[in-house]
Homo-oligomer: 345 residues x 2
Amino acid sequence: MRAAVFTQPGAIAVTDRPDPVLHNSTDAIVSVSLSCVCGSDLWYFRGESPRAPGQATGHEFVGVVEEVGADVVSLRVGDTVVAPFRWSDGSCAHCRFGYPTACTAGGIWGQPGSDGGQGQYVRVPFADATLVAVPGGTPDSALLPALLSLSDVMATGHFAAVSAGVTVGATVAVVGDGAVGLCGVLAARRLGATRIIALSSHASRSSIAVSFGATDIVQVRGAEATATLLEMTDGVGVDGVLECVGTEQSMATALSIVRPGGRLGYVGVPHGAHLPLETLFARNVTVSGGLAPARRYLPEMLRDVLNGSLDPSQVFDHEVRLEEIQSGYRAMDDRSAVKVLVTFP
Amino acid sequence: MRAAVFTQPGAIAVTDRPDPVLHNSTDAIVSVSLSCVCGSDLWYFRGESPRAPGQATGHEFVGVVEEVGADVVSLRVGDTVVAPFRWSDGSCAHCRFGYPTACTAGGIWGQPGSDGGQGQYVRVPFADATLVAVPGGTPDSALLPALLSLSDVMATGHFAAVSAGVTVGATVAVVGDGAVGLCGVLAARRLGATRIIALSSHASRSSIAVSFGATDIVQVRGAEATATLLEMTDGVGVDGVLECVGTEQSMATALSIVRPGGRLGYVGVPHGAHLPLETLFARNVTVSGGLAPARRYLPEMLRDVLNGSLDPSQVFDHEVRLEEIQSGYRAMDDRSAVKVLVTFP
């Protein structure tokens, strides 16, 4: 098969890799229909996190089941499936508690020994527990981008909103206008927030935020953003903040605008961010989030994509074929694209 | 009146102070029936936090209403009342959101310009919003210690349990065997936890923990405590931890024993503790707590004390008269007492 692999910082190659085969009776082989590039893929692309030369890349995909092991019971060959960004066994104590992110047998696509999402085929461990089949037969191909967003960014935006305690009528702020932040806006609207303040200084991203439900856009950053948000909320602050960046400044801004007793839902992978416990203590701020347990939310979000009430597909504003994936990474890296679709011949 | 004041580290004097008078039409004057010494009073006693010589002390009391301002509507002279450790106006945005701890007009007994709880009389601002009257006339004096515990330690232990997400059937751990930790055990039992593991290395405190509902006692600390707790929970960790100390070691222990997706409820005032965000992120640990909004929980806990289903009074294991209060501080300071009652002639 053809698949993308990491070569060195700044270079993603598309090479021939062995077609995956079933290893275990609970595996499935999936032919990838659509994949994409994630903001977190940029860490190794930029050399900010280690990755071995030749290691497969990508952790988001939708596809069609090609083959199933003898013990796979819920999937059939030909099913269209959505994969969350991690596999999990569905049966360990952590999976049963709702946190497949901590599955003792889990892993992320593209880790050594596994296939990446940016390739033609993927061997999926624990296929019953990991994959979610699209009900009702082959979906309209126009729905594939929205379904693909459930692999990671929409599930992560939703987890940010859940972690921020968003309820009907809430006033919330979203820090970060990347794909996850934009999906966070959409998730907050879906959960019933009535005022959604998006911090975004890019016109094209602000425009997606507004179409996703943002009621206000704050373009300034840092202390100016804090002052603006507090003024907008009569000095009270917002009920919940979705922190979708993970830097020291974004976390500090998030903390500065959440009201006493409010909640900070964070999904931005920490990059220098820290939590001043004294501030949290004095202001009763709850901090919740982390790596999104995407698999948990897939069925409900899949239902909403199919019934037309959820469409995050606008976050995909650029498209490349697998063979051109390097240019997709570049477009994400220079922020000329929010999120890049990867298509297969 | 006679009242305790801070003189210098290590010295609490009992002196004559002016009897308080009504300042505002929403004030009440309360004659204190019973007060106590708090673990947090030891910070200034030990010179660890600043306090002005002559400043009143104590922030926990039950008493009888002596006089009310013209705009006080819910209290009558002669009512027995419980005071939470802070006053609050009940009407600001924070109070209405359930966080009187952040009341814009709030304060803590004993702060400059206010009366302390360790004195014969207290002027209570916003009396309707601050005080909770004991219904049904003068309570049996045997109930006063239990009622007094609602001022702070029982409310704080309850907030730790709520913040740790304790639900029916949960497995929880309580870090800290001071009065708050012990009340945390009682609160966890009240909220339906079925397994309550108390970390306590003092026999007399462990014995109170057991009578409050602890199902297991872990006597070791640090890495040994972590290993023991993980072994007790099949390597999974506990659903929630009540962190009732606030030191670096206690917080590290709490974090190390909470399961992925679990909750850390912390009420120990931070003293060097910090939160490693990367660990929280990877393990989806929710951190919640801080200064307890005691006033919010007073009515429900008062009801349970009166109906006999809640009795935290065992945390008071030592009693002094107001004039002897210095010896009460010493007994708390050398940990020969868990919590010291202060009686009035």
